[in-house]
């Protein structure tokens, strides 16, 4: 199921403002790729171009190509809605549907995609919650609202909701930045398990986190405020953190700026 992402010459705008410029990279299936870089460097924007969420923002538009295996997400006749069904996303702040029960939250994406029998739905919900390491904590209260869970549990509920529809790629936009260290650890362990099945891209401000969870790391930077963000380099995480080939990467990682 996991697919390769192949980005070439991607530029994204907010109205007339160029947010990121000419980004090209390849993300291998069944791997974790971390995006790091200072605030405003466009890593979240770039992430949102990978499931066509960028264009939801007023004035958002994109030039360039994003291939999912061989299919161009920005090709003519491609429906952004169907792209988002293939490329799941987890957000910075946990956002379960507040009016839905835990069960309905996980089933929400499935119900959009088609008709499932009740028993099928229950199976998939259980499998997804187990996949998100949440099943044991919520199995006795599936009918309670998801907003009653702790922040870390809510985020895992959101991950369960995203993986329930079996996406090819899972995008995570700073998924732990609103969580305490213990919940963060739970999510990081989970990412390690999920990469067996999905292609995972994670944006993080936490460099230790990038070093812990990712196979490859991409460093983004911008020349000055107002300038578009650029991809400085992408390499194996080990290399980026020990022996990066660009001086700016080393400066950022060693805490000299950003």
């Amino acid at each position: 199921m996991a697919k390769r992402i192949d980005v070439s010459g991607l530029t994204a705008y907010y109205g007339s403002h160029k947010a990121i410029e000419d980004i090209s990279m390849t993300v291998e299936p069944r791997s974790v790729t971390a995006f790091i870089g200072p605030s405003g460097c466009g890593k979240s924007t770039f992430l949102r171009t990978l499931n066509r969420m960028h264009e939801v923002t007023a004035g958002g538009r994109v030039e360039g190509k994003v291939l999912l295996d061989d299919e161009d997400l920005y090709g003519t006749g491609i429906d952004p809605v169907s792209v988002r069904r293939e490329v799941g996303m987890v957000f910075q702040r946990p956002n379960p549907f507040p009016t839905m029960s835990i069960f309905d939250n996980v089933a929400a994406g499935l119900r959009l995609n088609g008709n499932y029998k009740k028993s099928e739905l229950a199976d998939i919900v259980e499998r997804s919650l187990k996949g998100a390491n949440l099943w044991n904590e919520v199995k006795d209260r599936l009918n309670k609202p998801g907003s009653g869970l702790s922040g870390g549990q809510q985020q895992r509920l959101c991950i369960a909701r995203a993986i329930a529809v079996e996406p090819n790629v899972l995008l995570m936009d700073e998924p732990c930045s609103a969580l305490d260290p213990i919940s963060t650890l739970a999510i990081e362990d989970l990412i390690g398990e999920l990469k067996e099945r999905f292609t995972i891209v994670i944006v993080t401000h936490n460099m230790q986190q990038a070093a812990r969870v990712s196979d490859r790391t991409a460093f983004f930077n911008l020349a000055a405020v107002g300038q578009p963000g650029k991809l400085i380099e992408i390499d194996d995480t080990e290399r980026i953190f020990s022996n990066p080939s660009v001086q700016a990467t080393e400066d950022y990682i060693s805490g000299r700026f950003g």
Partner: protein, 333 residues
């Protein structure tokens, strides 16, 4: 946020002294004290006014009802000038509730649709002017609605009534004997137009406040725009739309001049919504008050008390609906 146990609970604090209590309310400095007095006074004043209205209505109503020879709740008659007087509110209660239900059935879906259009579909430079026009609609005085209803809407209703009679006449509710269309349905339609702005405006505000992250949650799952509205916007706005509808309903229940101008009243309950006749509390009071005797006025005030109670019940029911699923509401997201 994990609620882990705190190992060392602080020792229980000693009971606060009156000074400490006052300090906690922020009422130690002169400015704070004045403001506290003003806001507390306003709150008390509101209660006093409500109690005064209820007391006045009840007192005058008891005077009238104690002399009523008919059953006040079930009599289809309003004869206060004869001795012994016979009057009852059955027709008024029926007419008030039916016309308001018609108004709600028509206005709420349209208002919600307009609000969704303005917040989620219309381009920004279009939604501003449309919202402005809707605000204007709310500023039109009700007597103007009444005149427009009587002079423009009523003649046009002939066509609609004929069509309803042809296709739905067999239900009995929509049969028509070619009377002037000054009926409950016409009143309901007019009320619907009158309560549309308030419901639209409040709903629009509520839909605008749906957090971006709830909508993005649905979008990221591959929801279409309509599915985003169904999964995120409507559930979040549900209690707000109910409140908005209750504001509208309150106006419909109490509307006086527009109803009095359009309706040709009588004291019968008509099964067909198309037959002229019936009446509402407010319309009945307005039409009869100026020519009523002292006792007649007491009787009208008694009917006003019933309207007051109905409005209270409606508001209570709305609050109960909103509170029932509080833990699921968008407010604690």
């Amino acid at each position: 946020m994990d609620t882990t146990q705190i190992a060392d609970a602080p020792p229980p604090a000693p009971a606060p002294t009156p000074e400490q209590k006052r300090a906690a309310r922020g009422a130690t400095r002169p400015g704070d004290r004045i403001f506290l007095g003003l806001s507390r006074g306003s709150g008390i004043l509101l209660l006093v006014i409500m109690a005064a209205i209820a007391g006045f209505l009840t007192y005058r109503a008891v005077l009238a009802i104690s002399k009523d020879e008919g059953n006040f709740l079930t009599t289809f008659e309003w004869n206060t000038g004869v001795n012994p007087p016979v009057f009852g509110i059955a027709v008024l209660a029926y007419g008030t509730i039916i016309s308001s239900i018609i108004a709600m059935v028509i206005a709420v879906p349209i208002a919600v649709a307009i609000a969704l259009f303005l917040t989620h579909y219309a381009p920004r430079r279009l939604s501003g002017p449309i919202a402005y026009v809707i605000d204007l609609l709310a500023a039109v005085p009700s007597i103007v609605y009444g005149l427009w209803g009587a002079l423009v809407l009523v003649p046009y209703m002939n066509g609609l009534f004929g069509w309803l009679n042809d296709y739905l006449g067999w239900t009995g509710i929509f049969s028509w004997q070619n009377g002037a269309p000054r009926s409950m349905l016409t009143v309901g339609i007019l009320l619907a137009i009158m309560i549309l702005p308030i419901i639209t405006n409040v709903s629009r505000e509520v839909f605008r406040q749906v957090p971006q992250m709830h909508e993005e949650a649905a979008l990221a799952l591959g929801a279409t725009r309509w599915e985003v509205i169904r999964m995120s916007v409507l559930p979040f706005g549900r209690s707000g739309v109910i409140s908005a509808s209750m504001l509208g309903l309150g106006r419909a229940l109490g509307e006086t001049m527009a109803v009095a101008t359009v309706l040709s009243p009588d004291f019968l309950i008509h099964t067909s919504l198309l037959d002229p006749g019936g009446g509402t509390f407010a319309q009945n009071i307005a039409s009869k008050f100026s020519e009523a005797t002292e006792f007649g006025r007491d009787a009208l005030i008694a009917s006003g008390l019933v309207l007051f109670v109905i409005t209270l019940l409606v508001n209570g029911a709305a609050r109960a609906i909103i509170a029932r699923r509080k833990e699921y509401s968008g407010a604690n997201a």
